[in-house]
């Protein structure tokens, strides 16, 4: 997944105005759907048979539908931690069923399932990150579509996809895409605004996945995901208390 290179700033609302704790999200199942690609991708790493992957996804979804996302009392922390635990449990249950359901299954095979070693967390984290960034890019694009005259997503995307081109070349490229003349200065301005918005959207997206999205926890999550570089230039001096983003100097 191509990643943005942030640069420029503008003041924005703090993260305490972003939506509520994730267990209370009105539509938990839709929320699960949002991260479905990560779930499936992760399962595919250690369940080589696509049928097994689909079976586990099915089991997992049934569990989510039956029991809801998770009880608030049980949950603390990050949605992705909950999700990976639930997915791994579903995978183990599937593997156990497959072994024990087979006539002549050996004890050793059953034991092997119980001691199954899942792929390291980076596999899950990378897929999670991809989904988060996809969501942010999509939100950025929606913003462009909802605001006629704005071509920030197009500009930022062009810059990320063609890192070797200078602003003159990129402006020409965007001109062709948008069907109107874009000068290099206007291009740079749009990129700047898009980066700022990207940072804001990234903070929002990350916050939604946290049980208690304090600025510190958001910052920690952004670092864990490896995307802090896109937000850091926009953190205000009092970020850890206010959660505000600003335009960089």
């Amino acid at each position: 997944m191509s990643e943005a290179t942030p640069q420029t700033p503008t003041p924005r609302a703090g993260i305490d105005q972003i939506s509520t704790r994730w267990p209370l999200i009105r539509d938990p199942i839709a929320f699960v759907f949002r991260y479905a690609p990560a779930i499936r991708g992760y399962l595919g790493v250690f369940l080589k048979d696509p049928h097994d992957v689909e079976d586990v996804c099915q089991t997992f979804m049934l569990r989510v539908v039956e029991r809801g996302v998770v009880e608030e009392a049980v949950l603390r922390g990050r949605f992705r931690d909950y999700l990976i635990a639930a997915v791994r449990n579903a995978a183990l249950a599937h593997l156990r069923r497959r072994v024990t359901g087979r006539p002549g299954a050996l004890l050793a095979e059953v034991a092997a399932v119980d001691s199954f070693v899942f792929p390291d967390d980076e596999e899950w984290l990378s897929r999670w990150r991809r989904v988060v960034l996809t969501g942010v890019w999509e939100a950025l694009e929606n913003h462009e579509r909802d605001h006629p005259g704005n071509f920030g997503h197009t500009a930022l995307r062009a810059m990320v996809d063609h890192p070797d081109e200078d602003s003159t070349e990129l402006a020409a490229r965007v001109s062709r895409t948008c069907g109107r003349t874009v000068r290099p200065e206007a291009f740079r301005k749009q990129v700047s605004r898009a980066r700022r918005l990207f940072a804001e959207l990234l903070v929002a997206e990350t916050s939604r996945t946290l049980d208690d999205p304090t600025p510190l926890k958001v910052e920690e999550e952004l670092i864990d995901l490896g995307v802090m570089k896109y937000v850091r230039p926009y953190l205000s001096a009092d970020w850890r208390t206010s959660g505000n983003l600003v335009d960089p100097d």
Partner: protein, 777 residues
Amino acid sequence: MDVSGSPSQSPILPKRKRAVSAIPPVRETPDLGRERLGRYAVTGQLGRGGMGIVYEAEDTRLKRKVAIKLLPKEVSSNPEALARFLREAQGAAKLNHANVVAVYDIGETADTHYIVMELINGGNAQEMLRQRGSFHWWEATSILMDVCRGVAAAHKAGLIHRDIKPSNILRSSEGVVKLGDFGLVKPAGIKGTEVTALGEMVGTPHYMSPEQSRCDALDERSDIYSLGATYFALLTGRPPFNSPDCMQVLFAHCAHPVPDPREIAPDVPEVCTAIIRKAMAKNRAQRHASAAELLADLEKVVALQPANSSGTRTDTRLPAFVWSGADPTETGAVISLADAYPGERSETVPGSKSRRGRFVALGVLSSLLATVLAVLLLGQKGPSPDAQTESSPVADTDWPSLAAEADRAIRSRDVAAMKRALAKVWVMRQRAEQPDGGVPEAIRQTLARLEKALAFRESITERGLVLGFDGPVTGAVLSPDDQLLAIGQSFGDGGAVVLDGYTGEKRFALWPRKGGTIVRVQSLAFDHTSTAVAAVCADDSIKLVRIASGKQSSFDLGPGVKRPLTVMFAPNTNKLVAGLEPYGEGKGKTYLKVWNTDTGKEPFPFKIEHSAKVSALAFTAGGHQVATGSDDKRVVMWNAETGRIWRELRTGLTIRALACSPDGRKVVVAGLDQGSSVLQFWDYAAGTLLSTQPSHHGTCHCVAISRDGKLLASGSGSRVLLWNPETQNLVATLAGHSHDVTSVAFCAEGGILVTGGADQTTRLWDVTRHLSPRPKP
């Protein structure tokens, strides 16, 4: 009859204790009987689904039929939802596009609101998928192109459909594809839980985009996703993610890779797969940006243009024949006489279903476009595995050669050959088309004939193609050149109907009813030139008609003859032989007559001596000898030129039918042995009985051997038995007629058997499989 804007057809899924109830509740709408909604007089109910009830009504002011959908109460009673509905209805009403069901009006009653729409009663794509399985990929592409045009128009007007799926793709009675249920009657005011609320599901999830599954904001590209999923369904007969559990389907939309339609329908070209993959990208930024862009991709498929071609886009509309077709029924494909008789009232076939709305169903287009591609790009064989090498590529072919190829293909009844020829003619048509759309008449006619011949041939299956009539069919005979199929009728209007042997179209009628005079035909025969037909009639006459001139004549049976029983032309001369029943029985009676059909005279005095009526005749392949079978239990074989008797077979059967093998080695005798129907196989030269086979199902009235000698067919009560003449073994039983089979005849080519029955039907059967030698176990 179906209806425009038919209610979303939610899947009927098993109810699960734990999961979301997959059976949506029927939304509460007032149930109307016959009453008025404003100026609309409700005339009947057309459909009922999860999204309300649809009625047929008449606009009493404009005097036209319309469809009216009543809104569910929860939409009507929700002010926000209602306001949004009204805005969208106003937007949809501005749409004036051929491929969108028109919205005429909205209104309200005391209880609810309603929408008045264009009435579409040609069926919908989901119904066709259920009936016929998938569409051919060219058909599917054509359908989706029309849908895309409608969607593009709506997107331009700022509308998003949000529920594109096969059941919302309708077809008018003129064959125009229309997208219905456009952005209307959606519970747009219900947020978030649209797809997750327990016990409730809005519409089918099978075509929903990932963003719909996640309850994110939608845009035009959400419709693109649904178009891609719909395309998948049209090509394969099933949605891309086919779990019965809605949650699984929605999860799959979000997470699972788009399946390859070729895993279900291997004939689907890769280019269609690529289009689906792009349209159904999880990330909507990677989909087609618009319906117009998707349409452009689809147009490239059917226009056979390289992906990067530039220049003027040619007309890519598919020919009208795309929308023709017959519905199969349980007893086989049925073509009513309305098809054989354009413009005439449809005849009903007992037990057959009435025809409903149809989409393309025939195998006319199966692999057609692939063949065209092969013709253009490869220049030689088509892609079908049994393709024969044929003439040079279209570019090098002159029209007379291509016309000859087309004619050969039709006569061969070979599907692959007809498809190849059709593809080439189609390409030539495209190239010959004038700027004003004119096409040379010869090309147009050849194209039409090929289409019809292919459609007809592909309608003939092992289950039998039924041609219905209004009275018992007393004889179905093929002309020696296979071009004509004559079917005699002894009731109704009588006479004989003559169909084109290759297309099934009615060509003309013989001895048509004139005033109160009806010629009741009991049996028929073509002469060896296929230019004359003789008939035994119920008025105890033998009539002859010259097809070209229409000149009619009859033959003098002479005194002492009570009635004719059967007639047969010699295979290579102008002789007509008739089996007769005289008054009384015994020697000296007249049981046979032979005439020269040119002069009407008897060429020689007959000395063939039977002692009972002769009801069975057969010529040998060379036409030199004739076998006659009689109630006197004898088969007499005699020289057709001189009348001299060559051999006599004492069969012990009351003989009803005879057939001689083309190689001259066998005679097959069908008759009754003390009331039981049997077949006897005789060695012709040696005059010895080879075997006797019981015929299980009833009296055998008819028997025929295929022209290559590989198959023998006998009528056995209501069944048709197929035998291997060499081994005298029964190889198959064809069931379909509901009354005695009265005639059997093989086409010269193509493995087709024609049977006539007292059940008022003529049937054509594909018996190709039985002509091939079976592998030894």
